[in-house]
Amino acid sequence: MRNYFGAAAALGVLSLVPAAALAQSEVVVWVAGEPGQTTIYDELAEAFNASQSDATITIVKNSSDLFNPALVPALSAGEGPDLFTFGTGPGQPAALIAGGLVADLTDAYREHNWGDTIPEGIVVQTSSDGKLWAFGNEVETTGMFYNKAIFDEVGISVPTSWPEMEAAVAALQEAGYDTPIGLGAADKWPTSHWQSMMFGRYAGPEGIESVLFGDGAWTDAPFVAASAKLQEMGQAGWFGATPVAIGYGELMDRFWAGEVPMTFTGPWVIGGGIEAAGDRIADYGVFAVPPFEDGQAIHPTNSIGSGWYIRDGSDNKDHAIAFLNSMFLETDGRVALLNAGTIPVGPLDEALAQAEMSQLAQDIWQTSDDHAVNGSVPAFLDTITPGSLTTVSYDGLQGLLLNVMTPEEFTAEMQDAWAAAKAAGEIMLPGGIAE
């Protein structure tokens, strides 16, 4: 009987302890990616969970295609993740912000000195009305991945000018490589990386900014010329006979299997490449696509990509901010990101000294750094423009490759969609944080 009294007394005492003191808060974090991919966030969450006791980070992955369609209803219902990644720039987050679905991070920016790490250019892409809405955490770039073994076999070297590029492609075609530059255009978005790079080369970063934030138009001559060049390359068979019939996944399988000499993509493929190619990974390198025209400068794409948002009304806002700090401000987190091929924003010296980046990752960032002085294209266009423009661009890029659309028609459709989005008030005017 005495045991029962003891147990009852213990339960009574426990019931007086606030529930919050016993239970950890669960911070639900949504990231775009298939299970097995973006494993870096699992590692970072594990490290965070081990380092403190009052919150647990739970990472939930949703495929890129279904991410937004799942996120928006969840947020609208007042539920959904505490912390999530979402597009940035003038087009994509405007509706979320206008709908009051994301939290204002301006106080956190000031309190945690995020300004020491996040460059002003990225703050501009993630703020409006003087408030910061997202933590712009990383920089993504693109480069021409190539198979050194195939280049050696065919007797070509890395091209540094457009005539050399043309000669290299011709030599590869001559040697029987029917797809000199792989492009998984069935998935639509991979072609958008070409588009961002080529628009940046022909119009310069200022030309793109003039459309995004000024009076420029997608029908301006440089964008038409860039579209024409892409179409010309497609018609000359540079991407093989049928790039729109090949998915990105299949294409990358062929690339790592050594069947395709080149493909234009970003550092996110490196982890999978190391796994797929094994020891042959040393056969692969990266170079910057040479200027398409005489006198043209190389402008690397340094895209902010997605930013991290906190759901408005989340009870775990402080924990979510702590997790962001641990990932992107603390050295351990930054080193882990670098090792995974992700480049966090801000000064890298301390983290780079400890990181063990793969050679390919170092190569692609080197190509970007080599030309950064010319000015960078601020983003992959499909990550910052409104969905309606992205749809039109994706379809139009396939139209260019299939030669059923002219560059003028393509850019006109883009401009129509852009103007319609502007007229509908779907474009946010970023402008930094109010003093």
Binding site: P69, A245, L402, M405
Partner: protein, 295 residues
Amino acid sequence: MFLDPNSKWAARLNPVLFLLPALSIYIIFAIYPTVSVVEYSFTDWDGISPERNYIGLENYRKMFSDKIFWEAFRNTFVWSGVILVINVGLGLVIAAMLARVWKARLLIQTCIVLPVVISPMAVATIWRWMYQPNGVINQLLEGIGLGALARPWLGDPNVVLYALAFAHSWSTIGLSVIIFLAGLQAVDEDLYEASKVDGATPLQQFRYVTMPALRPVTAVVFILTLTQSFKVFDIVWATTQGGPIRFSEILSTYMYKRGALENQYGYGSAIGVALLVIVSVATIIYLQIQNRKEQ
């Protein structure tokens, strides 16, 4: 829960009480969302904002002048037409042939029905792989000397819609065959015997005995196939996302793009309502035709 069968109201209320659980689920998960979609179609809701303004018929006006809607509309009809021909026409022929097969019938039946239970995403993955330029189908064609027919099935604007419709039919025809088979078992064998005595060939038996006897079953298969084909989304989305360009854009993928990806829920809902009306009208017309034939 139920009234005493001897009570005055039992005969009227007990059936309603029996129906109530299923009816509640149907109302919550079918009727209410449908009514909501109709309501949203009269608004400018972006799917995010707490505010939605009623804009009358503006979304419908926009839809009728939207050239992509009409492209998707046309594609949807071609898509459904191909699937109806395969699932109803070929399904009936396969069922009639199967009904005459005794050896290994169960095995053949299982093979035909098996794709029905495969998830649509898996079906999409299988066919995406088979339709690759260097995939199984092209290799097979080249292997049997028909290399001239090999093509990038999902990248060729002229064939992509038919290729996807065929893939969808592959995964659904089994259901048609099973329903037709069930119907065939109910056909009086004496009719076949009598027609045989009259000298009817197997083809004539099929034309004058099997087909008329299966008319009600055919109506069921037709309507099931039609509604299924109109609401297909996954196989198209997972293979081409409506591409190349918009050559395989059907109304369901276009509705998804506008509603979910471009945050135009109001407009997406209007497309959804149009889809509902089209299927309903097509079903009613077909049933009317069937009724007239019966009479």
